[in-house]
């Protein structure tokens, strides 16, 4: 990688960067004075800073901040605070489910999916055994809203593969966790938090999530096709369908 060459006694790059801004940590100044490489490094960072500030004066930057502060949140969408991975992992409930049947067929099962929702600062579990695989037209109790961030876990009866699909009220189907997966994520027995979270868009109506577990790699493309065609998934797998209302 592009770590600058660093002598045995040279301070880390970070300390040189601090030095270039005038923040000299103990011992750095005396080292830089006697080390041509570090000296060059500090000087070139100083040059970078002065060119940067000349090209983008502080007054202009502060004005940009002011505009930014006045702008509605939506205009700054790319920075929705969504660091939810680790904190949600800690909230996942451990549920034990029965073993899979032996014959190769799809099994509908509650308790396979575990979905948590982050809305503002609140994190809620929105799946329950009662809501998994409800009848068509039924919905889970929780009402979803645009902007909600969902994180998906699967409670796997054994080692295997898992994936979560989403279908919105327009019929569009998306592989949400892991995003764009083609054969599912390898999971261990027990609760696995799947990578990626989904932020809900403005399309209103029913949001359906299909959590699929299989002992074998899942042909996700096929699963998407059958889900679109039939509203369910045909594979040698266990499936839980959770539908939510997004009014």
């Amino acid at each position: 990688m592009n770590t600058p060459p660093r002598g045995a006694s040279c301070p880390p790059q970070l300390h040189l960067e601090q030095a270039s801004a005038g923040d000299w940590l103990p011992g750095v100044q005396s080292h830089v004075d006697g080390c041509a490489a570090c000296k060059t490094q500090v000087e070139s960072l100083q040059k970078m800073t002065s060119e940067f500030v000349a090209a983008r004066p502080v007054e202009r930057f502060l004005k940009q901040l002011e505009t930014r502060e006045a702008a509605p949140e939506k205009a700054r969408r790319s920075f929705l605070p969504l660091a939810i991975g680790a904190s949600l992992a800690a909230l996942v409930v451990f549920t034990v489910v029965q073993s899979l049947p032996r014959e190769p067929r799809v099994t509908m099962k509650g308790g396979l999916a575990h979905i948590t929702m982050k809305r503002g600062e609140d994190i809620t579990t929105i799946t329950s055994k009662a809501c998994g695989n409800s009848q068509p037209g039924d919905t889970c109790g929780e009402k979803l809203a645009p902007g909600d961030a969902l994180r998906f876990s699967v409670v796997a009866p054994r080692e295997g593969y898992a994936v979560v699909l989403n279908r919105d009220s327009t019929g569009a189907v998306t592989v949400v966790a892991p995003f764009g997966a083609s054969e599912g994520k390898a999971v261990n027995a027990g609760t696995n938090v799947l990578p990626d979270s989904a932020v809900l868009d403005d399309v209103r109506g029913a949001e359906t999530f299909v959590t699929i577990f299989s002992e074998h790699p899942i042909d996700v493309r096929k699963a998407v096709e059958s889900f679109k065609a039939t509203g369910s998934v045909s594979c040698d797998c266990t499936v839980e369908i959770s539908t939510f209302d997004k009014p």
Binding site: M1, M48, V53, R56, R60, L65, E69, R77
Partner: protein, 169 residues
């Protein structure tokens, strides 16, 4: 541009302006490395200083080393944005998804950013990678800073290097 308009500085902007003059270029450079493009780096830079500005004065006064503090804010913002970028890919491609499991999103440049490689790693590995490759710390120093053993750091950095090579290759 609008440079000659009178500026109504936000409250507490004296320190903000000072910090920008001292650290703005460095923070921008880091954001550029993580995000892989200028527009996102500028956005992240602004957001970093916004958040610094929103931090209560008493907390800001307690910051002994502003640059690492700003870097930490910037890093978080960049990874949140990279995460969102990935999901925007999900949301904007619903129609193209019909029958397809994979969607290509983002420009080639975005794909080449360090952040886009590191976003695939767990948070701890990510932190180690940043300390090592951006802050220029040795494996021992990373171990000291993170509280992990030198051996664990070595393994995790190897993992990160593989991810980086895949993206940068």
């Amino acid at each position: 541009m609008t440079d000659d308009l009178p500026t109504v500085a936000p409250r507490g902007s004296g320190q903000l302006g000072q910090w920008y003059s001292k650290y703005g270029a460095l923070v921008h450079r880091r954001c550029r490395t993580l995000m892989g493009n200028e527009a996102d780096a500028n956005d992240a830079l602004q957001e970093t200083f916004m958040r610094a500005h929103r931090t209560p004065q008493s907390n800001r006064d307690a910051v002994m080393q502003p640059l690492p503090w700003l870097y930490a804010i910037a890093t978080r913002i960049c990874f949140d944005a990279l995460d969102a970028r990935k999901r925007r890919g999900v949301l904007s491609s619903l129609k193209e998804m019909m029958g397809l499991g994979v969607v290509a999103s983002g420009s080639v440049e975005d794909k080449l950013s360090m952040g886009s490689a590191l976003i695939t790693l767990d948070e701890k590995t990510r932190e180690m990678a940043l300390l090592h490759w951006l802050d220029g710390m040795t494996q021992e120093e990373v171990a000291q800073q993170t509280g992990y053993s030198r051996k664990t750091v070595g393994v995790k950095l190897k993992e990160a290097e593989v991810a980086l090579r895949e993206v940068m290759a």
